[in-house]
């Protein structure tokens, strides 16, 4: 081993160390205080939520019991011994699944377009005016914070029963969620190209179109795809407004204890989630895989 550093004299070192400790101590104290607050909140919550670890461990064996039941046919056999019987409703389910995907697609697209239109105003670095930034941010916050189900319930009263209310509810909520995420991407964008284009005499719109958009579109697509996946699941909550799709069918099967139907629909849904995940992963890779790595 080589000696590469001459250790400082005791005294000098002590002075430096104490300066470091003092600077770090403040940070560390803040960190500890934050952790303490967080822990206290957790403990209070676990009392409020009636956490009981003894029951949890005593009866943990029951965890599989529900899965055991949904993997059994009415005849008492395992589901995979008779796939035809298990997936008796496949045709109907695929149709409902298609409907769910469509609801999610339309809702996500509407939401993404609205979020796209608003997000440049909600981003610190591109918003043309402070008041606009403030207003749009509050608007997005509202759209995001009010639960989707509330919009659905209100819309069903306003627009009547049917998928439209559900789709609009999904769209509004997506606008809020995506608008925030989109504007965060914009805030992380490199501003040098904007400056470059601005210096040529381009308008604000052109700067967004040519300097920001090429940088952020891959990120937008990525978040919109993720949102699409979330909305596929959200759509089931919209069942009662007549926008149920496969989710509503699943809930009926759960409530009526049509065990093998539950597992069959679940498998259908999970395979769909696989496909969406793989596809979105592939699209993300195509859109910005290479740049992200270099």
């Amino acid at each position: 081993m080589t000696i590469a550093v001459s250790i400082l004299p005791e005294q000098q070192l002590a002075a430096l160390n104490s300066a470091y400790r003092k600077a770090v101590a403040r940070k560390r104290l803040r960190l500890l205080a934050a952790l303490a607050v967080f822990l206290a909140a957790l403990i209070m919550s676990s009392i409020g939520a009636e956490v009981n670890l003894r029951t949890f461990f005593t009866y943990f064996g029951n965890f599989v019991s529900y899965f055991d039941r949904i993997l059994t046919l009415d005849s008492g056999q395992r589901v995979w011994t008779n796939v035809g019987e298990w997936f008796w409703g496949l045709h109907k389910w695929l149709k409902l699944l298609g409907e769910t995907l469509l609801i999610s697609y339309v809702g996500t697209l509407l939401g993404a377009v609205l979020a796209f239109a608003l997000n440049f105003f909600a981003a610190e670095n591109t918003s043309p005016a402070r008041w606009l930034l403030f207003t749009v941010r509050r608007l997005l916050e509202f759209a995001r914070t009010v639960p989707g189900i509330v919009f659905a319930l209100i819309f069903v009263i306003a627009f009547g029963l049917g998928p439209m209310a559900g789709v609009l509810a999904i769209a509004i909520h997506s606008t809020g969620a995506l608008g925030k995420l989109f504007s965060e991407i914009v805030e992380n964008a490199d501003m040098k190209p904007v400056e470059g284009i601005r210096s040529t005499g381009a308008s604000w719109l052109s700067c967004m179109r040519f300097a920001i958009l090429p940088q952020v579109s891959a990120g937008y697509a990525s978040y919109a795809l993720l949102r699409f996946e979330i909305n596929v699941r959200e759509a089931s909550v919209m069942g009662f407004v007549g926008a149920g799709g496969i989710g509503q069918e699943l809930i009926v099967a759960i409530r009526k204890f049509y065990y093998s139907d539950v597992s069959a629909i679940l498998v259908t849904v999970i395979v769909t989630v696989f496909l969406i995940d793989i596809t979105t992963g592939w699209v993300r890779g195509r859109l910005f895989g290479k740049e992200a790595r270099t």
């Binding site: 009866y59 029963l161 069942g239 009662f240 409530r255 009526k256 204890f257 049509y258």
Partner: protein, 287 residues
Amino acid sequence: EDWRAKYPEITFAAIPAENGSGVTERYAPFISYLSKELGVKVTLRVANDYAALIEGQRAGNIQIGYYGPASFARARLTGVKTDAFVIDVNSDGSKGYYSVFYVLAKSPYQKIEDLKGKNLGLVDPNSTSGNNMPRFKLNAMGIDPDAYFSKVVFTGSHENAVLALAQGTVDVAANWWNADDDSNLTRMLNKGMVKSADGTVMKKEDFRIIVKSDLIINSPYAYLSDLPEDMKAAIKKAFLDAAQKDPEAFKKLSDGKNKPWEPVATEDYNKTIELIKFVDNLRKKAS
């Protein structure tokens, strides 16, 4: 009595027959009565889903459950070892109720045949008066609801079905009905809860019944079959004595509408079980 040592705490679970928000307040005095009477702590749980109650009893951690007739039948049908012990009794002494189809009085619909292609509002897949009986009845009339109506929706609760009808979200709604002065609708009207889409408070005359079903047996209270016998006896006694020993608590449960509970046996629900089996069989046929 050693069952108290084994069950120092018992759970009583109910499904909101009306809207969830009111249930806790409504049950609070009765729960404390029960606790006092049994000498153990009783915890109330209000689940807004039948399935949760059924699963809870199956797992053995809900000792007493308040079911609807259909969900009780469903529990039995799926192998939950639970027994009905008392039954609600209506103000007129009857132990059952009916399923009816309401339409708005100002609408032109007089009979079910007028409603082809309209929207039907049911209550919940497991509700007897809100789903199973209406389907049974429609089937008897030769109607397949999913093909006959433009849309069939579960509104989630009896109240919601009435509200959906009042606001025009659906054209016809299924609901429970006891007597002319005792139905979900009258209870809601008394509270001024029913408002039309433009906000005006509605009256009984604004609704019309176009179909009424056969009698459906009332909701049971059920305990787990494998509880100790003396414990079951104690619970049953506490329920039967409730109206006498703590009339205030008992009255609060049904706003004074119900008479004291009466004993009932699981077998009394066989007809309901048959009804559910019938509805289940419709399922695979329909597709």
